[in-house]
C-alpha cells in the first residue's frame, strides 16, 4: 500500500474513532476492564503496601476463587432459575469465597511467610512462586478427579450468569453490555469498600501507619504480626472475590491458566500505579483499562495483529518505568527495596 492510498484510510479510521458513540463505547469497555483490573489488583497492593511482600501466588488464588465461586453458583442455581436467584447466588458465592480464601491466606502467612520476614525480599517472591505451583497443580488434580475441564473455560459456571447480563442495554445512542455495567458497579463498590476500610476503621489506620513505619507502630503497642496476618487474609480474600467476578466473564472464565492470565496484568497495574499505594492502583487500573480498550478497538478494526492489545498493556508498563520508575503515586524504593 502506498502512502497516498493509506492516508485517506487512516483519516477515515480516525473519524470513526472520534465519533461520540464509538468513544463512549470504548470508554465503557475500558471502565469495565479497569474495574476488573482493580479487583484483581486490590489484594496484591494491600499486601505489598503494608508488608513489602510481592505475592506471586495472587493469580493462583484468584483462579481458586473463580472455581470456588463457580461451584457455589452451580450448586445453587438450577437450569430454570430466574435472575434474582442467580444474583443472590453470586453474592453468596462472593461471601463464601472471601471467607474461605481469607482463611487460606491467613494460614499461608502464619505458616510460610512469617518465618522469612528477616530474609531479603527476593525470598518472599520465590516462596510465593512455589506456592503458585502447588496451588495450580492441586487445582488440576481436584478438577481432573471430578471431571471438570481444568484448561479451557468452565462452561457450567459461565451458564449460571443471569440473562440480563448477557444482553446489550441501550444507554442513549450507545449500546452497553450488561455484564460490563455490572463489573463497573461491582468494581466501584469494592474500591469504596477498601477505601472505607483503610480510612474509616482502626485496622485501616494500623495498615496505613504500618506501611509508613512498621517498627514505630509496634513500639506504640500494636501487634504488628496480627495486623500482617489480617491484611494478608484480606488481600487473598479480595483475590478470591475477583475470581468470582471473572467466572461470569466469557473473556476470562474459570480455568487453571487464569492464574497466569490475571497475575501478569495485575503486576502491570500495581507497578504503573506505584507499588503499594491503593490510590495509584485505582488510577493505574483506569489508565491501563482505557488504553487496553482503545488499542483493542484499533487493532480489531484497522490493524491486523491479534496480539497487540496484550502487548500494549506491557508497553504502558515499560514506558512508565522509563519515565517514572517508582510509578504514578509510588515513593521510590518502597520498603527499602
Amino acid at each position: 500500500m502506498t502512502p497516498l492510498t493509506l492516508a485517506p484510510l487512516l483519516l477515515d479510521a480516525v473519524g470513526e474513532f472520534l465519533r461520540p458513540s464509538t468513544l463512549a463505547g470504548i470508554a465503557l469497555e475500558g471502565l469495565s476492564l479497569a474495574a476488573l483490573y482493580v479487583m484483581i489488583t486490590a489484594g496484591l497492593t494491600l499486601i505489598f503496601g503494608l508488608m513489602g511482600v510481592l505475592n506471586f501466588a495472587h493469580g493462583a488464588l484468584t483462579m481458586i476463587g473463580a472455581y470456588l465461586g463457580g461451584l457455589v453458583t452451580v450448586l445453587l442455581v438450577g437450569t430454570g432459575a430466574g435472575d434474582p436467584l442467580r444474583f443472590a447466588a453470586f453474592f453468596l458465592a462472593v461471601l463464601v469465597t472471601f471467607g474461605a480464601l481469607a482463611a487460606l491466606g491467613g494460614a499461608m502467612e502464619v505458616s510460610l511467610i512469617r518465618p522469612i520476614y528477616d530474609r531479603p525480599p527476593l525470598y518472599q517472591i520465590l516462596l510465593t512462586f512455589g506456592v503458585t505451583l502447588i496451588l495450580e497443580e492441586l487445582a488440576r488434580i481436584v478438577l481432573l478427579f471430578y471431571g471438570i475441564q481444568p484448561i479451557s473455560d468452565w462452561q457450567e459456571a459461565l451458564s449460571t450468569r443471569p440473562a440480563v447480563l448477557g444482553e446489550s442495554l441501550a444507554l442513549g445512542s450507545v449500546s452497553v453490555d450488561g455484564l460490563a455495567l455490572f463489573e463497573i458497579l461491582f468494581g466501584v463498590l469494592t474500591v469504596a469498600g477498601v477505601w472505607a476500610f483503610l480510612t474509616r476503621t482502626r485496622y485501616g489506620l494500623y495498615v496505613r501507619a504500618g506501611s509508613e513505619d512498621g517498627e514505630m507502630l509496634s513500639a506504640l503497642g500494636v501487634n504488628v504480626r496480627r495486623v500482617f496476618t489480617v491484611v494478608f487474609a484480606l488481600g487473598t480474600g479480595l483475590a478470591g472475590v475477583a475470581g468470582v467476578l471473572l467466572a461470569w466473564d466469557a473473556n476470562w472464565a474459570a480455568s487453571v491458566p487464569l492464574a497466569a492470565e490475571t497475575l501478569l496484568p495485575a503486576f502491570v497495574v500495581v507497578i504503573v500505579g506505584g507499588l503499594g499505594t491503593f490510590r495509584g492502583t485505582v488510577v493505574a487500573a483506569l489508565l491501563v483499562g482505557l488504553t487496553d480498550a482503545t488499542m483493542t478497538w484499533w487493532f480489531q478494526n484497522h490493524v491486523a495483529f491479534t496480539g497487540l492489545p496484550e502487548i500494549t498493556v506491557f508497553l504502558v508498563l515499560v514506558v512508565m518505568l522509563i519515565v517514572r520508575p517508582q510509578g504514578l503515586f509510588g515513593v521510590s524504593e518502597v520498603g527499602g527495596h
Binding site: L112, R140, V318, L321
Partner: protein
C-alpha cells in the same frame, strides 16, 4: 552405566529411579540455561524473571534459520546465512543475538532494582512471548510453535567444515557412532548427549572463568552492597549490563541446543515466563550463586519429576507401584469409594509440578543455600579445594 544398572537384578527399582538418557540431555541444555540465569541473578542479585526471552530467542533463531526463513546472501561471499549454515556458527549467532537483546532490555531495566527489576524483565519477555505467539512470519500457526522442516540432517556440533570432527544431534536425525570396531556403539541419543555435553561444559568453563575473574568479583560486590561498589569507583551500571549480556549469550546458546535437539520450539516452551521459573527452581534447589549448582538442581528436579510422575516407558514410581503392589491392595477402598489404584493414579500421573512446588517451598524455607551451597558451607569452600582434604580426613 545406565544399561548395566538396568540389567542388574534390581532392574525394576533402577528403572523406577534412574532418569533416561533423553532426560539427561534435557538436564544438560536446561542446566546451561539455569546456569546463565544464575550467572546474572545469583551473582549480582538482580532477579531476571524474564530470562526466557534469551532462551526463546536462541531457539527460534535456530529453527528459523534452519527453515531458510532468515537467509542472508552477500554478493561476493555467497550465502552467509541459510538453511545449511553450520550449527556451530548458528550457536554463536544465537548467543550474540540474545546478548544484543540483553543489552537492549538491560539498558532500560538496570535503571531499576529489586522487585521492579524482576517485574520489568518479566514484562519484556512477556511482550516477546505474545509477539512470537501471534507473528505469522514464524509459521502459519504461530501459536503451535514451529518445527524444523528445511533441514533433514541433524545439527552438527564440532569443528565447522571438518567432517570427521562433526557429530549431529537430534532425537531422530542424529549420528550413530561405533568405536573399537563395534565393541561400543553409541545410539543417536547417546551421541547427542555427549556432544551437547561438550558445549555445555565449554560454556560452563567460560562462565566459571568469568566469575573468578576481577569482573566476577565486581558482580559479587554489586550483590553484597551496590552502593559501596559504586563508592569505590566501579561503574556498576556497566558491569551489570555486561554481566547481563554475557548471561543472555549463554541463555541463547542453551536455547539453540534445545531447539537443535528437539527440532521444534513453541512459544510455551521457549518464551513463556514459566520457563524462566523452571530455571529459578533449578537455581534455588542447586544453590543460588554457585555457578554449577543449577545443573545439579535441574538434575534433582528432573529426577523427582521422572520418579514421581512418569507414566510412560522411563520408569518411575507409578509403573513400579502398579507392578509391585498386590491386586488386593489396589482394589481396597480408601475414602468414599475411591480405590487405592485410583488414588495412586490421580496423584502420580503427570502431576510432578505439585511435588516440585512442595520441594521448592521446603528448599526456600529450610535450605536457602541449595544443595551445592549447603555442601560448600559444610566443607568450607568449593568441593574441589575443601572437599578432597575433608574426605581424606574422613577416611584416615
Amino acid at each position: 552405566m545406565y544399561k548395566l544398572l538396568v540389567n542388574s537384578p534390581l532392574s525394576g527399582e533402577f528403572v523406577a529411579v534412574l532418569p533416561e538418557v533423553e532426560a539427561m540431555i534435557a538436564v544438560l541444555y536446561f542446566g546451561l540455561f539455569a546456569m546463565s540465569f544464575d550467572f546474572i541473578s545469583g551473582y549480582t542479585g538482580y532477579l531476571s524473571f524474564g530470562h526466557a526471552a534469551f532462551y526463546g530467542t536462541g531457539a527460534y533463531l535456530t529453527v528459523l534459520v534452519a527453515n531458510g526463513k532468515l537467509a542472508v546472501t552477500l554478493p561476493v561471499v555467497g550465502t552467509v546465512l541459510g538453511s545449511q549454515t553450520s550449527f556451530m556458527v548458528l550457536l554463536l549467532l544465537a548467543g550474540l543475538f540474545a546478548a544484543l537483546l540483553a543489552l537492549v532490555i538491560g539498558s532500560v531495566s538496570f535503571r531499576l532494582s529489586g522487585v521492579y527489576f524482576a517485574m520489568i524483565t518479566l514484562g519484556f519477555s512477556q511482550v516477546l512471548y505474545v509477539f512470537v505467539r501471534d507473528w505469522d512470519f514464524v509459521s502459519s500457526a504461530p501459536r503451535d510453535g514451529v518445527a524444523v522442516t528445511g533441514r533433514t540432517s541433524g545439527f552438527q556440533i564440532g569443528v565447522p567444515f571438518v567432517d570427521q570432527l562433526n557429530l549431529a544431534v537430534g532425537v531422530l536425525a542424529g549420528d550413530e557412532v561405533a568405536l573399537l570396531g563395534e565393541a561400543i556403539t553409541f545410539s543417536t541419543t547417546d551421541v547427542s548427549y555427549y556432544m551437547i555435553g561438550v558445549v555445555v561444559l565449554v560454556s560452563y568453563f567460560v562462565m566459571q572463568r568469568l566469575v573468578h575473574s576481577p569482573f566476577g568479583r565486581v558482580m559479587i560486590a554489586i550483590r553484597e552492597n551496590e552502593e559501596r561498589a559504586r563508592a569505590i569507583g566501579y561503574d556498576t551500571y556497566r558491569y551489570k549490563l555486561g554481566a547481563f549480556a554475557i548471561s543472555g549469550f549463554f541463555g541463547g546458546v542453551a536455547g539453540a541446543l534445545f531447539a537443535a535437539f528437539r527440532r521444534s520450539v513453541t512459544p510455551e516452551n521457549g518464551f513463556y515466563f514459566l520457563v524462566a521459573g523452571d530455571a529459578l527452581l533449578a537455581s534455588i534447589i542447586g544453590g543460588f550463586g554457585t555457578l554449577v549448582g543449577p545443573l545439579y538442581g535441574r538434575l534433582f528436579d528432573e529426577t523427582v519429576r521422572e520418579f514421581l510422575s512418569k507414566s510412560g516407558s522411563g520408569g518411575g514410581l507409578l509403573p513400579w507401584l502398579r507392578a509391585t503392589v498386590p491386586e488386593g491392595v489396589l482394589q481396597m477402598d480408601l475414602v468414599g469409594g475411591v480405590t487405592v489404584a485410583e488414588a495412586i493414579d490421580t496423584f502420580l500421573n503427570g502431576h510432578a509440578e505439585l511435588y516440585v512446588g512442595i520441594m521448592f517451598v521446603l528448599f526456600v524455607l529450610y535450605v536457602p543455600n541449595g544443595l551445592l551451597g549447603t555442601l560448600r558451607d559444610r566443607a568450607g569452600g568449593t568441593l574441589a579445594t575443601a572437599g578432597i582434604p575433608a574426605l581424606r580426613r574422613w577416611f584416615r
